[in-house]
């Protein structure tokens, strides 16, 4: 396994810059997840690492070797495609061993590697089947098997779970996590699903419009998002945002009143800010208080023990608060919502985190 280092990478299609100044280090054995909305450049970045896209500038180094001008096969990477991309005219065993055959590896060795991969992925009974005779989950395992047998330096996954149904997606996600431990593999994984990102990654890279917005450990991104985009992207339901401006000793939220919070250095009165707070850090409160806002219940979603209340504040902003247990809330109720001061995020006018 190897380290992947990307420096100042850029890529343009004509005049459109799809990747801008990407700097990223994927440690040896690390599981890095690229996440972002569609069109953010995450797949292009992955394909650039694979060598399926030419880059316009910068350098990609895999295991200490600059690979910018190498063909995909010479980069010692293996890619798992969203569509699986199995060769339809070959059985499972041939699919997995196909690349090795052309690499000039002896038949006995190919057979050994294929059966090893089949054992790990529980594909042994299926080796003689054609892809069309397999279920979606099985096809995905074959695609992963094809990657394993090549013993690559880096595994690249391009939204591998998107085509699976919800239950299978969770199973396969767990299997990929296990596989990562078992093989001690360096993995770069693209997804638009932030649950996948949170559960699988050692490091999450949030991308937007061709740039890296933030990279770091999943919980760091969750608890200390660097900007509004990351704050809104990571977490489900999304973080609530309240627009306001800095006033002496707190933040004025217009019609919602003013709340007293500790202001970070650099926050001067009159500054436009956005206050962010996650649903689980808001609770239904009885009566007014320091960090309490008046609200009207718009909708209550019960998921069982927990649930979400959609609340319309005095300013008209709708926020979502998590509720636990039996609250007896119903649409139209007038109530108050309390903000947890330890989990308030303050963002400046440019979207960056303050403090």
């Amino acid at each position: 396994m190897a380290e992947v280092v990307i420096e100042k990478l850029s890529k343009s299609f004509g005049s459109v810059e799809v990747l801008k100044d990407i700097d990223l280090t994927v440690g040896d054995g690390a599981f890095v997840v690229l996440v972002g909305p569609s069109g953010c450049g995450k797949s292009t970045l992955l394909r650039s690492i694979a060598g399926l896209e030419d880059v316009s500038g910068g350098a990609i180094t895999i295991g200490g070797r600059k690979v910018n001008d190498l063909a995909p096969a010479q980069r010692e990477i293996a890619m798992v495609f969203q569509s699986y991309a199995l060769y339809p005219h070959m059985d499972v065993a041939a699919n997995m061993g196909f690349g090795l055959k052309f690499a000039g590896i002896p038949k006995a060795e190919i057979a050994a590697r294929v059966s090893e991969a089949a054992r790990i992925l529980q594909l042994e009974p299926l080796l003689k089947r054609r892809p069309r005779e397999l279920s979606g989950g099985q096809r995905q395992r074959v695609a992963i098997g094809r990657a394993i047998v090549r013993k690559p330096q880096v595994f690249l996954f391009d939204e591998p779970l998107s085509n699976l149904d919800a239950a299978l997606r969770i199973n396969t996600r767990v299997e990929i996590a296990k596989l990562h431990k078992l093989l001690a593999a360096t993995i770069v994984y693209v997804t638009h699903d932030q649950v996948e990102a949170m559960t699988l990654a050692d490091k999450i890279v949030v991308m937007n419009q061709g740039r890296i917005e933030q990279q770091g450990k999943p919980l760091d991104l969750y608890y200390r998002p660097a900007n509004l985009f990351v704050a809104g992207f990571i977490g489900s339901p999304a973080m609530n945002f309240l627009k306001g401006e800095v006033v002496a000793g707190g933040t004025g939220l217009g019609a919602d009143g003013r709340i007293a919070i500790a202001l970070p250095p650099g926050a001067t009165p009159g500054m436009k800010v956005t206050l962010g707070i996650r649903p689980e850090h808001m609770s239904i409160a009885v009566g007014g208080g320091d960090l309490h806002l008046a609200a009207t219940v718009e909708l209550v979603e019960r998921l069982g023990e927990t649930g979400f209340a959609h609340l319309r504040l005095a300013s008209g902003t709708v926020v979502i608060a998590e509720i636990r247990g039996e609250t007896g809330l119903k649409t139209g109720d007038r109530t108050h919502v309390a903000l947890d001061p330890a989990h308030l995020h303050l963002f400046g006018a440019d979207g960056r985190r303050l403090g």
């Binding site: 096969a73 495609f81 699986y84 991309a85 199995l86 005219h89 690349g99 892809p131 069309r132």
Partner: protein, 275 residues
């Protein structure tokens, strides 16, 4: 009740058309087994024990040259199919997969070939073949038929190749295949149904053609069967037994080829590759 009725109508129309199309062929085959007198007296009746006479076949197969004419036809047809498919698929792959200068222009140029009948260029072709010293060779015929069939082959195969998922080619590239290996081991097996279609399209006009054999290989033992049969058609006397027998026998090889290719026309070969 509407559905079975319309299905019946469709089948009735198709059946009628089949009858119409098969009638002359049945007539030829039927009469090839009859004595000469019976051919003229009762042309529409099948052979009976009293007028059964395989004399035509005997004459055809006794003729020392005719088996060679069959072989010539088979060689030319097989050669033309082979090169049409090989070069057609290669060109189609290049035109669909690679971006290069004049790509569109080249594709357009090739598709013009579909619209312009090659026979218009007969004089130029004769000159060219004569200069290459290829008159009375099968090579000349194979080259001309390959050129004649390439445009349509490229057009059809491009459409099919464009439908092969991009991921599949990229997976092969990640697997370390060269572009040639991708073509021969991934693309060709996946467009087999399309190639069979093209082969059928190519085969029948080539097998039946009289024009180019007459111009380019009319002698020297290089005649094709369509041309070879002409020796039984005289200005004053025509050996109908032999003509009908030769024509009937000429159906067999092309029928066999058709059966071979039609087995490749299996649909859904690509299903299961990508979801």
């Amino acid at each position: 009740m509407r559905k079975p009725l319309s299905a019946f109508a469709v089948h009735a129309i198709l059946g009628l058309y089949t009858l119409l199309a098969l009638f002359p062929i049945v007539l030829v085959v039927m009469n090839s087994f009859k004595a000469k007198r019976a051919i003229f007296n009762t042309p529409l009746r099948p052979p009976t024990p009293s007028n059964f006479d395989p004399i035509g076949y005997a004459r055809v197969f006794d003729d020392s040259a005719l088996p060679f004419y069959y072989l010539n036809s088979i060689t030319v047809t097989a050669g033309a199919i082979f090169f049409t498919l090989l070069f057609g698929a290669m060109a189609a792959w290049a035109l669909t997969e690679y971006k290069f200068r004049f790509n569109t222009l080249l594709a357009l140029f090739l598709s013009i070939g579909i619209m312009v009948p090659i026979r218009l260029g007969s004089v130029a072709i004769i000159q060219l073949v004569a200069e290459l010293n290829l008159i009375n060779t099968l090579t000349a015929l194979i080259l001309v038929y390959t050129a004649q069939n390439l445009p349509l082959a490229i057009f059809i195969l491009s459409e099919f190749i464009a439908q092969i998922p991009k991921d599949l080619r990229e997976a092969a590239r990640c697997d370390g295949l060269t572009e040639y290996n991708i073509f021969f081991h991934i693309i060709l097996p996946l467009i087999r149904p399309a190639m069979a279609t093209v082969a059928v399209f190519t085969m029948i006009p080539v097998w039946n053609d009289l024009w180019f054999p007459l111009l380019l290989a009319p002698a020297g033992g290089k005649q094709t069967i369509t041309l070879g049969v002409q020796q039984f058609l005289g200005q004053y006397i025509t050996d109908w037994n032999a003509v009908l027998a030769a024509l009937s026998a000429a159906i067999v090889p092309v029928l066999l080829l058709y059966v071979i290719f039609s087995r490749q026309l299996i649909r859904g070969l690509t299903s299961g590759a990508v979801k």
